[in-house]
Amino acid sequence: MPAGIRGLVPVLIAIVVLAVLQLVLGGAPFFVYLASIVGVNVILAVSLNIVNGMTGQFSIGHAGFMAVGAYTAGKLSLLLKDLAISGLPAAVSDQVQFVGTLLAGGVAAALCGFLVGLPSLRLRGDYLAIVTLGFGEIIRVIVQNLDVFGRALGLSGIPQTSSLFAVWFCVFLVVLVARRIVGSTHGRSLWAIREDEVAAEAMGVNTTGYKVRAFVISSFFAGIAGGLFAHFVPIINPGSFTFVKSIEVVVMVVAGGLGSTTGAIVAAVFLTLLPEVLRTLFLQLGGLDTGASLAQKVDQIRMPVYGMLLVLLMLVRPQGLFGTREIWDVLPRWWPGARKGIT
């Protein structure tokens, strides 16, 4: 195999595997919906981990970048809805448009990331957190007050062109990007910034430049996640991109271990499914025939349980699930593949 394309092999494998999964599981709507939600959260968590975990900059405005991506891609899709690319079957044309709008959403978010990052990444710690928090809120308020974006009602009727394949291919891409960054000289520079900014700068690392680049990559994928989200939920409105959403993603990153990509994945999957699992669990405990009132109570209980589990995790493992390590670093030694790494 020519060395030039060796780097692309994982992509080809992922395409085949995901295509098979799509064929086998693509027909179950609830499963696809749940898998898509999980996928979007994984993308958000892994991309935020590039900034919060690897670079050590505390950003809490990820929902803002997601909103930029969602609204850009969603609005574009709405505008292009009745157009089709001539010479292509309708389904293919839809998919091409979908990919185009996704990229547009990602680029728009990346641009925002650049604009927010350039001035504010000279700030440190809490100050950066405040700026990113402000950014997220500004985006939400802007969207809420613009007729083009449907104000508080949001956008509805966006073509539902997303698929299991599309979402999880993006998941695969963000994970690949995160892992390749970690394994490269760029990743080491990011770690160095996290560990000691003054020393990194003195050792020739352009700290501001690296921070901005990390921010741009991270917000690009947040935009992609938003774009995907817009194409499988029936309606997007400002309520989906509040501060609470940002915090949710931060929680995933912290719970997984700041700096651990696999930790972010595990935490995102776990924390997204947990409320669903708790719902099912409670319903089964209470029995379905006891009526809606119990179901409602159960619904109210599951969030405190979710919260308590998080508190418990932080008490037992304050460094997060895997700390800065990856899952194969913490697996027991007898486990095949443990401590080898995959890059």
């Binding site: 060395a3 030039g4 060796r6 780097g7 692309l8 690949l176 990007v177 390749r180 960054i181 490269s184 000289t185 760029h186 080491r188 520079s189 770690w191 160095a192 560990e195 000691d196 003054v198 020393a199 990194a200 700068e201 003195a202 050792m203 020739g204 690392v205 352009n206 700290t207 501001t208 430049g209 680049r213 800065t324």
Partner: protein, 307 residues
């Protein structure tokens, strides 16, 4: 005589009303081994911070390899060939020893425009060229894609960096710590790792901020030998800040003494040791009087506590 690699001309800095450093002159050429001493708070580390771009001097000029670097970022100054260590060790604690050095080993290879061309452009426009910045940005952009696509050229560069970092660990006697996290290394080895890391940036001048702090006598002896060896092996100019008089007097050929931000003496170790101003700054008037030496005139406000 070789050109001056690092030059400070009447450099000074004021923080608010406080003159932390004033009229500081220095010149380091290849092969030099100079010392910078002075009591606590004399401005030694401030001098380092001005030289390396952490602070911008409010007065005077700093030149690295002939270029005026006032106002440049520390990483840019580092690229010109100036590397340093820190008084309170500042390693990347969670990174392995190898990775600590590899961070500093930035590749000289640039994907599109050569670094020399960009540097040349910067030099002609005294550091502020949008075109150079754009070329640099494009280089970085392509470089990231090479990393993401894992191109053969990129992998080869990574291997080269790793080889260089391993060689530096070898020189500093740290090969056995290759994969250990920096924070788990014993104190003396952390100091050596910091030097290895500084060498990774391929400096022409090395600034060592109290390299012997916290070391025992034997380790200090080894360090003296090592510093000389590094100077010769890597053709460096070295400037050392040190509290330990024996060490400074032992290895430095030229010593600058600071007190209250002002250079009070300069010269060969023997001459500096005899200088009454130096003795007074370190040991106080009473010492001078007791040993029948002349007490230099000075303003009564600058009371220096005896060490």
């Amino acid at each position: 005589m070789s050109e001056a690699l690092l030059q400070a001309v009447q450099a000074g800095i004021e923080f608010g009303g406080l003159r932390a450093l004033h009229g500081f002159d220095l010149e380091i050429r290849q092969g030099d081994l100079k010392g910078l001493i002075g009591p606590n708070g004399a401005g030694k580390t401030t001098a380092f911070n001005i030289l390396t771009g952490v602070y911008e001097p409010t007065h005077g000029e700093i030149r690295v390899c002939g270029e005026v670097v006032n106002g440049r970022q520390p990483h840019q100054i580092n690229h010109l060939g100036l590397a340093r260590t820190f008084q309170n060790i500042r390693l990347f604690r969670a990174l392995s020893a190898l990775d600590n050095v590899r961070v500093a080993c930035l590749s000289d290879e640039r994907p599109i425009f050569s670094q020399a061309r960009i540097d040349e452009l910067r030099r002609r426009t005294s550091g502020r060229s949008p075109l150079a910045s754009a070329m640099d940005a494009l280089n970085n952009y392509v470089d990231w894609w090479r990393a993401l696509l894992l191109t053969p050229g990129f992998q080869e560069e990574e291997r080269e960096l790793t080889r260089r970092a391993e060689a530096l660990l070898e020189v500093m006697g740290l090969s056995h710590r290759r994969n250990e996290e920096a924070r788990n290394l014993p104190y003396g080895e952390q100091r050596r790792l910091e030097i290895a890391r500084a060498l990774g940036t391929r400096p022409r001048v090395l600034l060592l901020d109290e390299p012997a702090a916290g070391m025992n006598t034997r380790e200090k002896g080894d360090l003296m030998v090592l510093i000389r060896q590094l100077r010769d092996q890597f053709s460096l100019g070295i400037l050392v800040i040190e509290h330990d008089m024996k060490l400074v007097m032992g290895i430095c050929e030229d010593i600058t003494v600071l007190d209250h931000g002002v250079t009070i003496a300069r010269g060969a170790p023997e001459a500096v040791r005899q200088d009454p101003k130096v003795i007074e700054a370190y040991l106080g008037d009473s010492y001078l009087a007791a040993h029948g030496m002349p007490v230099p005139a000075r303003s009564p406000t600058t009371e220096t506590p005896a060490t």
